[in-house]
Symmetry: C2
Subunit: 334 residues, 2 copies
């Protein structure tokens, strides 16, 4: 009794923003799970800027998605059938099962998630890779101290919104950067940032000067480009810059724009460090417990932007790069 899975395969390497023809949307017949395998019905798919990088055929921190392969993505699903000793029918699981409605898995890389701890999409946001990225990037690399100023770009985005809230929890002054007055209002009013600079409507350098009188001790960068440059120009002595992503550059068809103010690192004896969340996997469970505790205490909010319908995947993904979502973007399969 086979199962039909609807899935998106990578059909072509995109140039710039992915086009519809870069995807092959169709159906596969999945075999029954073999011994040690399980069949998962995917309910929620994590949409992340990093996915754009995985589509390029260049060496990176993980191999690119191959042409013809199901697009890689973090997912949440429900176990439909199991011949695996660790999983039972009805279990909710999280893992990188890809942009599809069903998957066969051997259980490697899957963890069970508890819908009583938080709604399922939250296991892809604050309690998932998004939250882990914010947690380890800010706390392990940024090491903010109470009273210091933390600036985060992409503040209305999935990672940025968590970074700012964690920095507030640590007693910092927190300044966000976001595009448009609605996003800025959300960041300040809903997420509790001290200030937010609307990079679409004001000069970022002037905004940082106004909002960061003690300069910037920790800068968490999700965007790259001119915003990174403006933040570098405002660093404090011994500042820490976390390079988490560069969403402004992922669809660049020219050379990436390098930060021309990088010599601020010298002037301020500062450090710029790149991070990849997967390196912290041994500590995910510990961090998720702490984050769940903060959520239960009302100190940390999960902000989820849900798009329903697997077929909307291409547009929803592109929306990440055109600034359309606020919070964690999750594709609900059905």
């Amino acid at each position: 009794m086979s199962t039909t899975s609807r899935r998106f395969r990578l059909a072509a390497r995109p140039v710039g923003l992915p086009k519809p023809s870069d995807w092959d949307f169709g159906e596969d017949e999945l075999p029954d799970p073999g011994d040690g395998e399980l069949l998962v019905q995917i309910t929620h798919i994590s949409l992340d800027p990093a996915m754009r990088g995985w589509m390029n055929d260049v060496p990176s921190y993980i191999p690119p998605v191959g042409l013809g392969e199901v697009m890689r993505a973090g997912t949440i699903g429900t176990v439909l059938e199991s011949r695996h000793p660790d999983f039972r029918v009805g279990d909710h699981v999280s893992g990188a099962l890809g942009v599809q409605s069903h998957a066969i898995s051997d259980g490697r890389g899957l963890v069970k998630v508890d819908p009583d701890v938080a709604p399922l999409p939250v296991h892809l946001s604050v309690l998932g890779m998004t939250g882990m990225t914010a947690y380890f990037g800010l706390l392990d690399i940024g090491r903010p101290e109470a009273g210091q100023t933390v600036v985060v770009s992409g503040a209305a985005g999935a990672v940025g919104g968590v970074v700012g809230q964690l920095a507030k929890l640590k007693g910092c002054r927190v300044v966000g950067l976001a595009g448009g007055p609605e996003k800025c209002a959300h960041v300040v009013e809903e997420l509790g940032f001290d200030a937010c600079i609307d990079y679409k409507n004001e000069d970022v350098g002037a905004g940082l000067k106004r909002e960061c009188p003690d300069r910037i001790h920790v800068y968490f960068d999700n965007v790259g480009g001119d915003i990174l440059d403006a933040a570098l120009a405002r660093l404090a002595l011994h500042a820490r810059v976390i390079i988490c992503g560069a969403i402004s550059q992922y669809n660049a068809t020219d050379r990436v724009t390098g930060p021309s103010n990088y010599l601020s690192l010298l002037v301020q004896r500062a450090t710029m460090t790149g991070m990849v969340v997967f390196d912290y996997a041994p500590r995910f469970a510990e961090a998720a417990r702490e984050m769940a505790g903060w959520m239960a205490e009302g100190k940390l909010r999960a902000q989820t932007d849900v798009v329903t319908g697997l077929e909307h995947f291409p547009d929803a993904l592109n929306g990440l790069f055109t600034g359309q979502n606020t919070g964690k973007l999750v594709l609900q399969v059905a």
Copy 2:
């Protein structure tokens, strides 16, 4: 009985490479030293790429040299008269006394140097700020381990030549970058680097790929620009990049070129850190003792390029930016 000092004052803020008209070369009558002061005859002046930055009216790690002020420089001199309890006539001293033949000092920032430990110019190179920069940048920030690959740009320059020798002392594979076959031969044959890439005559990326089969664990950057970019593209996992200087950019009249490959920091979970040698002042004496020991054992060579005649200061300084010197450039006053 006053003393005449010949000196270079900064007459104008240079645009690009300094022009003769940016300098005021003339004479001053110095008063006799007052109580607690001493009169120093300057014998050797350190010429360093960083001096170009000090001429710009922009905030940096030290204030710019003011228009009309004697140009700042590290110097070695001999005490001619002393009304200071810590210094006697005939003492050799080191300090930032500027581009001039004589200076009155209150002793602050002056240290005595011993010509029996090393010839006087060496107290401006391996045993001076040059050597301290190499020592703390490489060992404290770079933390190279035996068997790792260390790459240094400006390898035939003052700092780069010491960095490479120290890395060899630590058991590393050491690859230099220098301009022209003569400099490359010097770096390998005289300084003991494992290899040197001639950036003027070959593709730096291809050279780094050939000479760094295990990629780059520590990159010590003195130059910035395209060479920094090529090194970033070849980083190893958890690599450390030390930003010591950016000689290719100091005379730029356009915007500084930022490293467009900075996202290698993310892919390789690497760190880029800026350094200013003055931060390590409390540990200079300890480092100089260790470096003097290595010199005495023949494990570390001082390479000094001496230009004689104070009047040659403007051309000698500019030579740093046009690649004319090998090793530490020292201006011998007379």
